[in-house]
Symmetry: C2
Subunit: 335 residues, 2 copies
DNA sequence: CTGTTAGCGCTTTCAA
DNA sequence: TTGAAAGCGCTAACAG
């Protein structure tokens, strides 16, 4: 069904080596006329070199692996995925995507990576399933790895740091400075599941702590994962006698839903309820009022992706690098 | 660096065959105690069977391929991707994603598929780059293929039909019946690039034609691909002296931006401007007014995904199947 | 410029 | 229950 080089060789009246030369790109090696014959026969048979055999022989798969924490819907992950795909396409790589949403998936992902499914991996998992030892077991095989991660990473792997917590704390302190007394946090579910607060939630709690806000006055609800949940959570919050006068949402999408919910409740943003999101998505600019947010100024992830491809190209493993992304609080109309 | 079965065998004092038995799942084949020794040695060395070698030998990759037309941001594609990932994970498959946004990428994707990158493919590309002959060259290798597609598909491949055009025409006819005289269409860019109108655009033009609307009165603008572009496009449209009294947007996201733009311009939805979107995303329910839309009642794509996995499981290639999804016009508050 | 051939790491048949 | 060995399809070193 799937033709092999041998069949093409027979059809073209040459040896398998010649077929391999033609498809292997070793151009000068084959006479133009022979080359033509081979291509013609291959075209007729619908031949394409078997990837498994080629990978086994060459020791390279021409694939890169993206390890994600969740499925689409998160703008910042999407952008990373897109930049990785574009770079991969341009360099002749395919992209295989692994999703890690449980311990079992993390173990499976590590096995698959150690099994050589790809020539390198870009790991963007925030949960706790992918433990340092698991990551280390992958890195120790010599696989080029770039990890976007807080906390510990094994030696020999590039790491990208995103100082979310600091920028978020700044935003929440801005709310406190404005005199907001009841600041709600609209959390991603996974933030609530982890042991210690990290990232966005950590920024929130840290700012409140720093200003001596009674922990009992914290108001943390789930809903940042999707727009409808956010709308509903905020609508409910606003019905409380002790309603918040500010909402810090862990995503811009949730923050925009918050603006809707506040307006639909007959209240004003920011006068009655200040709103701040996270992510700096473009949509925030057309919200009414424009959304104040915490996030990167540029969304482009090519620098992260380049870390990986630099490693793929290198003969010798280069020294491990650390990239720190810039995050800031962007004040616009909603807070 | 990456240990082989041979090394594990030596460390455990057994033959490579035994190592293979342990990792190949052929359970009863190995004495519990031997098995333990092998696993222990493998764990120490960090062994995982080489995928390329295994694939070559077994003739199966344990991978499925998703071929997409664009990168994230399209809710309906995201849902398909998620359902595919979940099914794949559950069945022990990985997912490799190919993106086809040009003729060159289409040719490359076909080569990669014919090269056996995966055991089956789910193809969800609406553009014209992936021509029927290219698709046929892939199907003819015997690769299980499920295509979500309008128009021609090669024999031997399952196809999923989405009657978008009919449902969209119904929505536009509803606008006409309401007495709307100037109905704008907010298009995806790719719809404007293709030769003949298809899908959503086709529904729009067909409805107008059917009611004898002068083609010169059609109002087609780009902007459905992203929320900000939609907002700006509509804002501009509303400034025209001959402003539309209805907007049919090719995506719900654009339709929601349209609602904002109309309200921010001091006009009312639906009194001054009716708005209808496409996709039936949840977010439409919390829009104000709730968004009228065209789309599926259920978003679940497990039936589509199952077509593929049925084919993967089958010994004999089953007869080609056609799945027709149900699309309808869902009238809510915005039109 | 083209052909012959070893061998990548694994699975699986067959033999012990 | 375990081992020996052939061979999946390809590439690359070497020979001609």
């Amino acid at each position: 069904m799937r033709p092999t080089a041998k069949q093409v060789a027979e059809a073209a009246g040459v040896s398998v080596a010649t077929v391999s030369y033609v498809f292997g790109g070793r151009d000068g090696r084959v006479a133009p006329e022979t080359r033509q014959r081979v291509l013609e026969a291959a075209g007729r048979l619908g031949y394409a070199p078997d990837q498994a055999a080629r990978s086994l022989r060459r020791g390279r798969t021409q694939r890169v692996c993206l390890v994600q924490g969740s499925f689409g819907g998160v703008p910042t992950e999407e952008r990373l995925a897109r930049d990785l795909h574009e770079m991969a396409d341009a360099q002749g790589y395919s992209v295989v995507t692994l999703t890690v949403y449980s311990r079992a998936r993390a173990v499976a992902a590590a096995d698959v990576l150690r099994g050589g499914i790809a020539d390198g991996a870009l790991i963007n998992v925030s949960g706790e399933h992918l433990t340092p030892d698991l990551l280390a077991s992958v890195v120790s095989t010599g696989l080029p790895v770039v990890a976007i991660r807080e906390g510990e990473v094994p030696p020999g792997c590039d790491v990208v740091r995103v100082p979310e917590a600091d920028a978020c704390a700044e935003a929440v302190e801005h709310l406190i400075a404005q005199g907001r007394r009841r600041i709600a946090f609209l959390a991603h579910r996974h933030e609530l599941y982890t042991g210690r607060p990290s990232g966005r939630l950590l920024g929130y709690t840290r700012a409140l702590d720093r200003h001596g806000v009674d922990p009992a006055r914290r108001l943390i609800v789930s809903g940042a994962d999707d727009r409808v949940a956010a709308y509903q959570a905020v609508t409910e919050l606003l019905r409380s006698p002790d309603r918040p006068d500010a909402v810090f949402a862990a995503s811009d999408r949730a923050a925009i839903s918050t603006i809707w919910a506040v307006r639909d409740a007959g209240l004003r943003v920011p006068e009655d309820v200040a709103v701040i999101g996270v992510g700096n998505i473009d949509e925030g600019l057309i919200a009414n009022p424009p959304l104040s947010t915490v996030g990167p100024l540029r969304h482009d992830c090519t620098d992260v992706v380049r870390l990986l491809f630099d490693r793929l190209r290198a003969e010798e493993p280069p020294p491990a690098r650390e990239l720190v992304r810039t995050w800031s609080f962007l004040r616009r109309g909603s807070a």
